[in-house]
Assembly symmetry: C2
Homo-oligomer: 141 residues x 2
Amino acid sequence: MKGTEALTTIFREQGLRVTPQRQAIFRLLEGDVSHPTVESLFDRARADMPTISLKTVYQTVHDLEALGEVRVLDLGTGSVRVDPNVEDEHHHLLCTTCGRVRDLPVEFDGLIVPIRYRRDFTIDDVQVIFRGHCEHCFDRT
Amino acid sequence: MKGTEALTTIFREQGLRVTPQRQAIFRLLEGDVSHPTVESLFDRARADMPTISLKTVYQTVHDLEALGEVRVLDLGTGSVRVDPNVEDEHHHLLCTTCGRVRDLPVEFDGLIVPIRYRRDFTIDDVQVIFRGHCEHCFDRT
DNA sequence: TTGCTTGTTGACAACTCTTGTTGTTAGTAT
DNA sequence: ATACTAACAACAAGAGTTGTCAACAAGCAA
């Protein structure tokens, strides 16, 4: 995801307005590697801006997604997660106990679908989710 | 997934009762490769059994899952899908237009996480979702 | 077969996450 | 500064799934 200033320019170019609410969300997401849910973004945004609504956070996240600045992930945890890292291709490691998500660089070249299975299917995207337990949750199981 | 008779035995062994509703669901799932949603199972079950409730279908699916007889998939389509194929390891090809899901045999050996990323993480499961468009939906785009 | 015990059912409400609606506020270009 | 209109907050509603509970029936024993 680009920086707050760059996003401001991009939003204006697209005819989208840059409001304090949106800037707050830009700032929260910048450099965030925790893959936050919309709800948790909302909670953090509310600390500074008590009247911000959940809907606004969803809206802004979707706008960022439409601009390709974030990726919205559904890892099967019940709620959607925001991943501001769109620069590096990566997969995800999900702790099924605490819900923490970690990025996983793509270092393997095995994800190729044999041509006979692709013959009548156009593949746009691959999502790989590793599920397990992180150090913290493994200890206390 | 095992056959209806075998499931009847297994359920009884577990102290679970085998009702006409459950047997109907066993029969619907046997050999089904369409990865149906619970809702669609419900609709089909209702054809023969008009009073069956959605809750009963969910319940039975979860019981089957607990016994390892089906897998419950969340492919990000909004609703959960039931996969009775637990015998062969496979990934999934999802058409993001019509929602059809196809099994994909695992023929590649690339899904190994480098040890430095596994050091403090225990991996239980890998889910790979290929998204794209099936023949039918590609033509009409 | 009969009756008892207990898991299951079906109807309904509640829940979580996300999106639609609406009048009002405020960002942006001129 | 002004007008245009997107975005806002508040609220309600939608979809999918799960909880509650009284009535029921499967399974077991005699």
